[in-house]
Amino acid sequence: MSNVPNELKYVASHEWIRDEGNGVVTIGITDHAQDLLGDVVFVELPDLGAEVAAGDDAGVVESVKAASDVYAPLSGEVIAINEALEDAPESVNSDPYGDGWFFQLKLSDTSELDDLLDADGYAAHCEAEG
């Protein structure tokens, strides 16, 4: 069974969200998502400073098996991107909740945080997807 840390929030499109406080969140893809993709070989990240709305495309993750869009789970400005993924995309597989993070947002509306799934909700969603 894949790892779904309790302290994180999630969306149905398999991104995780860590609330860093002060309206800043870190975003990546879940252990379940990386397991479905297999070995990740390229990650395309959003531009620093870009404004994204919840549900927008915010990058692409390509594995040996498939290409998959990464969505912004919340609205805000991209204030950091994980440039280390350019040389070490395999971090997405080996450490999806740590070194494999994708980008950080400064939220434009922190109330959107209330719409996210908790660990149990996300685990149930994965279960239902089969």
Partner: protein
């Protein structure tokens, strides 16, 4: 649940991600297919390929039958154990399957017989076709479903196998020439493979497979799944049936022209007239290699655009772990030169057109 090979329990114990492959439950990878790929290029990996179909062809007319059935000519096999890669064509010159045939006896001796290994996904139609074509020959076709098959591939593969087998098998392996197989104490040991590396394919009774697999594991041979098998064969420029060619594809348009034995001219193999006519009139398409050195991964079915000539399609594409960028096989207009564009995710991306293979014995080989 699908068919299981004799090594199913081993795969399960090793934590394999099992997937359905033509009705067989087979390992896709045991953690990381990229790491498995590197193991084969750098040392030794092993694959359970027991799902493949083994058919022995015997009888007084075994040779005449295979000379009728196959587009390559088994009469070129002059030595016991020698292997031949061939297409099996339909009357229209389309590829029913690609296969390996081994001459199992001295040539031109009474009791001469052959072993044919065909793809798993085409098993039923192959067996039906082979049986239909056998009607007017004095031959017997015997499937060998109780044989397991393990491919051990990589620069250290033969050495590792020699460490764990009996003395007589080890001696055989150390003396075995490339593309030759020999029987030893109930095993058939062939120096063949589907990775572009040195290595062996060993066919052995199902009930001996698990112990042998365990010995190989203990000797440091990495278990590898179908994922790595696919990237390895793609780097080696080897076709995959159903992707790079099928019954609608001529071998002349699938990079398989070298496997067509049109001499001697009086050998009437199935599909001969069709391929000879196409060869005379000239092909419209050809199979080439594509290289994308920028980021992104070429994928099967993406459209290839060749300036002034028209369009083609990627037949197999992936990331090349050895090269660090993406490569593909594609069917393109015959006049295609050294460059083309691929439509990827809504954009046209320039690619280099090369002659496969991409990698042999761990090294880049195209330019």
């Amino acid at each position: 649940m699908g068919h299981k090979t004799a090594l199913h329990a081993q795969h399960h114990a090793l934590g394999a991600k099992l997937v359905d492959f033509s009705g067989w439950e087979m390992p896709l990878h045991y953690g990381s297919q990229v790491e498995e790929h590197h193991k084969v290029r750098q040392s030794a990996g092993m694959f359970d390929v027991s799902h493949m179909t083994i058919v022995d062809v015997s009888g007084a007319q075994a040779r005449s039958y295979l000379r009728h059935l196959l587009a390559n000519d088994v009469a070129s096999l002059k030595q016991k154990g020698k292997a031949l890669y061939s297409a099996m064509l339909n009357e229209k010159g389309g590829v029913i399957d690609d296969l390996i045939v081994y001459l199992m006896t001295e040539p031109d001796t009474s009791g001469e017989w052959y072993r044919v290994v065909v793809n798993c996904g085409t098993r039923e139609k192959d067996l039906r076709w082979m049986a239909d074509q056998a009607l007017r020959f004095d031959v017997a076709l015997t499937e060998q479903p109780e044989l397991a098959m393990i491919a051990i591939q990589g620069p250290k593969a033969r050495q590792r196998v020699e460490q764990v087998v009996s003395e007589s098998r080890a001696r055989l392996i150390s003396e075995l020439k490339p593309f030759v197989g020999q029987e030893s104490e109930g095993w058939f040991i062939a120096r063949t493979g589907y990775t572009g590396e040195d290595g062996l394919e060993i066919m052995l009774p199902d009930d001996e497979a698990e112990a042998f697999w365990q010995q190989l594991l203990d000797a440091g041979v990495a278990p590898c799944g179908l994922g790595a098998r696919d990237t390895l064969r793609l780097e080696a420029g080897m076709n995959l049936y159903g992707s790079d060619m099928d019954e609608q594809t001529s071998p002349l348009e699938a990079g398989m022209g070298w496997t067509l034995a049109l001499e001697p001219a009086d050998r009437q193999f199935v599909g001969r007239d069709a391929v000879a006519a196409l060869k005379a009139s000239g092909v419209e398409q050809k199979l080439v290699g594509l290289v994308l050195t920028e980021r992104g991964v070429l994928r099967a079915h993406q459209k290839v655009v060749v300036d002034g000539l028209g369009e083609g399609e990627i037949t197999s594409g992936s990331f090349s772990p050895t090269l660090g960028f993406s490569i593909a096989l594609a069917r393109v207009p015959a006049g295609t030169g050294s460059s083309a564009e691929v439509e990827m995710r809504g954009k046209r991306v320039p690619v280099q057109v090369v002659k496969p293979p991409f990698v042999r014995h761990g090294e880049k080989v195209f330019s």
